[in-house]
């Protein structure tokens, strides 16, 4: 609780112009855009989910992949409300001990990256497609901060999510988007 002297308060108030709508809004924390880059036999293929105005009208780009093929997938999270867009992926890497990306899909996903504690992060994974068809890939960024001094990010969460669903996990979902995969 700051105590701003009264005169200062009035002076400060006078400076903030309500007509200024493109100022430094400093909108932190919002994830508007998720980009998946698939590295496979056909080179780099991109799939994305983007709602740059954060108003519930996303544009989804479905990647075209080959059946029964292994892809190295990198996952990026962006905040496009900021100009230029803020790359939130770096923050997730920095705080990897309390974040994990989960994938709900019929394809097979294995984690390639680890945090300092040896637990998976999920920004770099291997995805192996199944037979041809269309299948959904749901990407969930789970925030697992310490609770009452105890870590919520522990081993076996991906297996738990697969067995009992995402809702069985501790923490909160920072992002949860579904991108259809077109497998040929």
């Amino acid at each position: 609780m700051r105590f701003v002297p009264l005169a200062l308060l009035l002076a400060v108030s006078a400076c903030d112009n309500v007509e200024d709508t493109d100022g430094d809004e400093n909108i932190e924390e919002v994830i508007t855009t998720i980009v998946l880059t698939f590295d496979g036999p056909e080179g780099l293929v991109e799939g994305s989910w983007a709602d740059p105005e954060n108003d519930g009208s996303p544009v989804i780009v479905s990647p075209e992949l080959t059946a029964n093929t292994e892809y190295q997938v990198s996952v990026e999270f962006l905040n496009e409300l900021e100009d230029p867009a803020e790359d939130i992926t770096e923050e997730i890497e920095d705080e990897a001990d309390e974040h994990q990306v989960f994938f709900a899909t019929d394809a097979t996903v294995t984690y390639n990256d680890q945090d300092d504690g040896g637990l998976p992060i999920g920004l770099d994974v291997t995805l192996t497609t199944g037979d041809a068809g269309t299948e959904d890939l749901t990407v969930i960024l789970r925030h697992l901060p310490e609770l009452d001094g105890a870590a919520q990010k522990v081993a076996g969460l991906a297996e738990q999510a697969e067995a009992d669903g995402i809702s069985s996990l501790p923490g909160d979902s920072d992002a949860m988007v579904t991108i259809p995969l077109t497998v040929q």
Partner: protein, 784 residues
């Protein structure tokens, strides 16, 4: 000795201008016995006549002019009192003493008929028994009043189902301006700063503003000292649930060297840890509040001037269990048994909200001979609210940052009562108001910046004849508001084809709107000669301008898992209300019952959006799929009844029964959201006799029952919670220590530690309400 002195002044009905005789009788307000030897001073300044009451308490002051005359009474064994009475009208004037031997005068017609609506005033003594509650909690025992709780320890008052935008809070007679649209935005009002709270139920738009649809809460500080001396008061409150503690102090002084110049300083602090429901700690519901105030006043016989400043600061944790940012998480926790066990503490972590509210008021009141009382009030309010979500560590600031600046001027003339014909009096006022308001918002897209200008004129007149009065009032407001939308907000509006009058600029857009809104009221009062029965009727129509959120809200709130969308094309909401009150006042029974009904044309409601195919609509954000809630206009009907009755009010044992019922639905019969469920309560009070310094000791047992709300709109996330019954136990007394007064009380709330959820509380989606609580209060009022 009695704390209240009842002065019965019986006026002559002579019509000539200055040959009236003011006659009266001075009686002990408690025992009813006449008081002999009281000095009664009657008349306008400069023409005072001093008389002494005889053995029957009678007095007679000849040579009075028609109109209001001041009547002051003093006696060595009683507190002095003063009031103004109308020399053309029979009147009963009740004087309530303050311990400082100053008087707060409530000029009252019999049976509290001074307002044409249902109204209740909580005095200092009653407020002392509720210290430590917030504003909403302080008044929630009044029939017709309920609270809407957030997901922290804050709450908002509700009167007859109306809250936020349709309910006015006036602090020191200045409209309180905060972000009142948010369900978890409690009014930023220091409850310790109020020495008298009046709750008016029913539309009161003429005097207070067109948005006083549901009612008005007047939180008034103690008047400044009028005589040299020093008053000091200290309040302490300790509560077991959450280990809450409050300490409040105030000093009022006037120096004998500079008579007329009074000063006041006040401060109070509250600290609360995490609260607990009957079987669970509500993690992160700790709270802190710090309030400061200072005032300087000058008064002479004809001029009252005052400059005051107060600051409210609060920091509230939001329950950790609130997981509304992601609808899937939210739905999962609605049915799942809570698995996380929180430990109680005093830290306030994210998610949390912080508010600072500064209020500066300057007021000058002048009595102008032959004309009346002229009053000008200028005020500035600065409301700064920040809300912080659980974030990555890299995000250090708030996600929602609101600044609301309000500058207002109000000038009114309350004209002197005028004789009409032989035995009627006309009393009334005219006024003008002006307000400039600016909202500055930074953060996750939610509401736009705006600038709003409002001007209003109003007048009301009341014609009195014996025990009956008719009141007519009208008000006209003009509001001009420009919203400044960001680029992404206007893009979003365009995508939804939302009709709007927006002008695009280099970055973003300006959306301007102008509205004219009128209020008309017609009221009547009538009381029997013996004061046993009183009746009030009030008819009014009022128009409310759509608020900024109703037009332009766009986004998700941290505590409610919906995607909210305003509608820029919304128009004025018009309410037609009829209300009545019947009072009964006998030796064995005090009571009142107040029915009401209103029809609202283009009632603006917040409800789940349904598409053309009849299916609910959703918006997909990166955090999940949110049900879309929109503001839309429907025609609606509200009706209900509230009231109370006290049986054997002045006996050793008395019983108080109270209840309230309100219904709100659209004209198709679909219930409106957040309508409080029916409730009934009873209090059995045993009052002991005064013994030495101990005055008015009491012990009371309370039962409060709330029905399940079975009229709920479609689209609620979970069914309405079950009804519940809560028990309470209270005891207290007043101690007179020379010129000082102390009040102590103890209370146990929710005696049975019942698990319950409140339909009008956001917490109901996440957890049970806090369980049993034990409170101890002590107040000391010192006079030097």
């Amino acid at each position: 000795m009695s704390a209240a002195l009842l002065l019965l002044a019986l006026m002559s009905n002579a019509a000539a201008s200055c040959d009236l005789v003011v006659r009266g009788v001075v009686v002990d307000g408690d025992s009813g016995a006449p008081v002999a030897g009281a000095t009664v001073v009657v008349g306008p300044p400069g023409r005072l006549i001093s008389v002494v009451s005889d053995n029957e308490g009678h007095f007679e002051a000849p040579g009075q002019c028609s109109g209001f005359v001041r009547v002051a009474v003093s006696h060595p064994s009683f507190h002095a009192g003063a009031t103004a009475v109308d020399a053309a009208e029979d009147a009963v004037v009740q004087l309530f003493t303050h311990e400082d031997h100053e008087i707060v005068v409530t000029e009252e017609m019999p049976l509290g008929l001074q307002d044409t609506r249902a109204s209740v005033t909580l005095t200092e003594q009653e407020l002392d028994d509720k210290r430590g509650s917030d504003l909403a909690g302080t008044i929630e025992d009044i029939p017709g009043v309920t609270v809407i709780g957030g997901a922290s320890s804050t709450s908002k008052p509700v009167i007859r189902g109306q809250f936020g935008r349709r309910l006015l809070v006036l602090v020191d007679r200045v409209r309180h301006e905060g972000q009142k649209w948010g369900i978890d935005h409690a009014p930023e009002v220091d409850a310790f700063g109020a020495d008298e709270i009046t709750v008016i139920r029913g539309a009161a738009g003429v005097r207070y503003g067109a948005d006083a649809v549901g009612g008005v809460i007047l939180a008034d500080p103690l008047p400044m000292r009028e005589t040299p001396g020093v008053d000091a008061s200290v309040h302490t409150v300790a509560a077991a649930n959450g280990l809450r503690g409050s300490l409040a102090g105030r000093v009022d002084a006037m120096s004998a060297k500079v008579p007329g110049l009074a000063v006041r300083l006040s401060a109070n602090a509250t600290s609360a840890g995490d609260q607990s429901s009957p079987d669970r700690v509500l993690g992160n519901t700790a709270a802190r509040e710090l309030n400061l105030g200072a005032a300087i006043g000058y008064m002479s016989d004809t001029v009252h001037a005052r400059l005051s400043w107060d600051r409210f600061t609060a920091e509230n944790g939001v329950f950790y269990g609130v997981r509304a940012e992601n609808p899937a998480d939210f739905r999962d926790q609605l049915t799942a048994e809570p698995t996380v066990v929180y430990t109680a503490g005093r830290d306030i972590d994210r998610p949390r909200q912080s508010v600072t509210h500064d209020r500066i008021i300057g007021r000058v009141g002048v009595d102008v001979a032959q004309l009346g009382h002229f009053d000008v009030t200028a005020s500035y309010q600065h409301n700064h609210r920040t809300e912080e979500d659980i974030t990555r560590q890299a995000a250090s600031g708030p996600q929602y940052d609101f600044t609301l600046r309000t500058t207002a001027v109000d000038a009114s003339l309350h004209h002197s009562p005028m004789a009409v014909g032989l035995d009627a009096t006309l009393e009334g006022a005219v006024g003008v108001t002006g307000q400039l308001q600016e909202n500055l918002y930074r953060g996750v897209p939610l509401v736009p910046n705006y600038r709003s200008l409002n001007g209003g004129v109003y007048a009301w007149e009341r014609l009195w004849r014996r025990r009956a009065a008719v009141e007519l009032g009208a008000r006209l407001d003009r509001t001009s508001r420009t919203a400044f939308l960001t680029e992404s907000a206007i893009d979003g509006l365009d995508r939804r084809d939302a009709t709007s009058t927006c002008e695009r600029g280099d970055s973003g857009a300006r959306c301007a709107g102008d509205w004219t809104a009128g209020v008309v009221t017609l009221g009547g009062l009538w009381g029997t000669e013996d004061d046993v029965v009183g009746v009030k009727v009030d008819l009014s129509s009022g128009a409310r301008v759509p608020s900024i959120d109703e037009q332009f809200l766009g986004g998700t709130a941290p505590t409610f898992p919906a995607f909210a969308l305003g509608d820029p094309s919304l128009g004025v909401e018009t309410t037609y209300t009829a209300g009545g009150v019947v009072h009964l006042h006998t030796a064995d029974l005090h009571g009142e019952i107040a029915p009401f009904a209103s029809y609202v044309n283009d009632y603006i409601q917040f409800a789940p959006a349904v598409g053309a195919n009849g299916q609910p609509q959703f918006d997909v954000l990166s955090t999940g799929t949110f049900p879309r809630f929109t503001f839309g206009a429907v025609n609606a009907v509200w009706y209900g009844v509230d009231g109370h009755v006290t049986i054997a009010p002045d006996r050793l044992v008395s019983l108080d029964l109270r209840g309230s019922m309100v219904r709100g639905q659209d004209t198709a019969g679909q219930p409106l959201a957040f309508v409080p469920p029916d409730r009934a309560g009873a209090s059995l009070t045993a009052q002991g006799p005064d013994r030495g310094a101990v005055e008015s000791p009491y012990v009371a047992f309370d039962v409060d029952a709330v029905r399940e709300q079975n009229r709920v709109p479609l689209g609620d996330f979970s069914p309405a919670p079950d009804g519940y019954v809560l028990l309470g136990l209270r005891a207290g007394t007043q101690l007179r220590l020379g010129t000082h007064i102390a009040r102590v009380s103890a209370e146990i709330q929710n005696l049975g530690n019942v698990k319950y959820r409140n339909y009008t509380s956001l917490l109901r989606y996440y957890a049970d309400e806090p369980g049993r609580d034990a409170l101890v209060r002590a107040s000391l009022h010192m006079h030097f």
